[in-house]
Symmetry: C2
Subunit: 185 residues, 2 copies
DNA sequence: GTTGCCTATGCAACTCGTTGCATAGCAGGA
DNA sequence: TCCTGCTATGCAACGAGTTGCATAGGCAAC
């Protein structure tokens, strides 16, 4: 389980409440690790019980109170230990690939609009990444270690989206080519 | 849930027992959808109860008997319906990216050997993909629709591995560059 | 001749992750 | 005025997925 570690990293970068963490997981961190607010609250309680993080009640006016968490030393030590462990092989879940192979037993043309939707959403995400790169890592700046590492992760996202766009074009060309043929029945 | 659909596709391509499916999920299909034998057996029982697949007991000598499953019409219809539904956005789980950002709060150099291990395993997978492509889709052949679709999925795997290798080189260069600097404490 | 691996299926217990719902005050617009 | 939406946390129930173990015959190596 790496949700705990992803939360620790996020709290080290910036302390925050469960709600704030949930929003971060919808944005930057969510690009490589997703979580709902339910999961986050549950894991936060466990981590606090284990002493990995410390909570501070913060009263707000005009808004509900919140509990702001920050990483504690045992949490930092746990993260350090995890960093030195070999990571499990990633389990891939690529639903679109299943659909593409499934199309051989149905009408391949029925997939075209679905693939086009995916293409659009990946193009939009690439644009967001590129805008974020311009904003956070402008050319000529002198980044520190944290920024360098955040940047190399972002570059990975950018290259992933570029690769995916090119592949989806390949998929679309293949589906169009097969459009005339009868499906296998 | 797409495990049912991945199993249906696999059984349409070739009928087989739970055990055989588990091995396929360790090989080709497992590249874009993973499953343990436990999951597979449980889902097979549910699918048989729902009439999606049909089972036939096959006695073997020198080996335990097996139940060979094949896709039935209701299963084929369910697959067809699923193909026409929009797919949920993929939830990405990229543990290495979490580690890279975590390295900002520890020693970045400690990650180098881990990244190198990943690089090797991605290089080995790319080599396997390329060998499989040569074997199954030799230049000059006239593939049918099923092979075309399998090939485009494989090309996606190949491009993904190439992209990942290039990115891991970028990560390694970044980690080496940061090697001299003190971690943030 | 015992140890370990392969085929083949399955139970039990657990953790992970999602979905629906609840509360509760405040802000802004129709 | 009512409706929608945001901040903030949480319960309950379910489904997905993993891990450990069990059985049971055959095969090959040491």
């Amino acid at each position: 389980m790496a949700l705990e570690h992803a939360i620790l990293v996020s709290l080290l970068e910036q302390p925050g409440s469960g709600y704030e963490l949930a929003r971060r997981f919808d944005r930057s961190i969510g690009r490589f690790w997703t979580a709902t607010h339910q999961q986050i609250y549950r894991v936060l309680r466990r981590m606090e019980a284990d002493g990995w993080i410390a909570a501070e009640e913060v009263a707000q006016d005009g808004r509900p109170d919140k509990k702001v968490y920050s990483a504690a030393d045992p949490g930092r030590a746990a993260l350090s230990g995890w960093l030195r462990e070999p990571v499990e092989p990633e389990t891939v879940r690529h639903e679109l690939a299943v659909k593409i192979r499934a199309a051989a037993f149905d009408d391949p043309a029925a997939l075209i609009s679905e693939v086009e939707r995916h293409r659009e959403s990946h193009a939009a995400l690439l644009a967001r990444y590129l805008a974020g790169e311009q904003r956070d890592f402008p050319a000529g700046s002198a980044p520190d270690a944290r920024q360098e590492l955040q940047h190399v992760v972002l570059r990975g996202g950018i290259e992933y989206e570029r690769m995916t766009l090119a592949w989806l074009d390949d998929v679309l060309a293949t589906l169009h080519r097969l459009g005339g043929r009868r499906p296998h029945h």
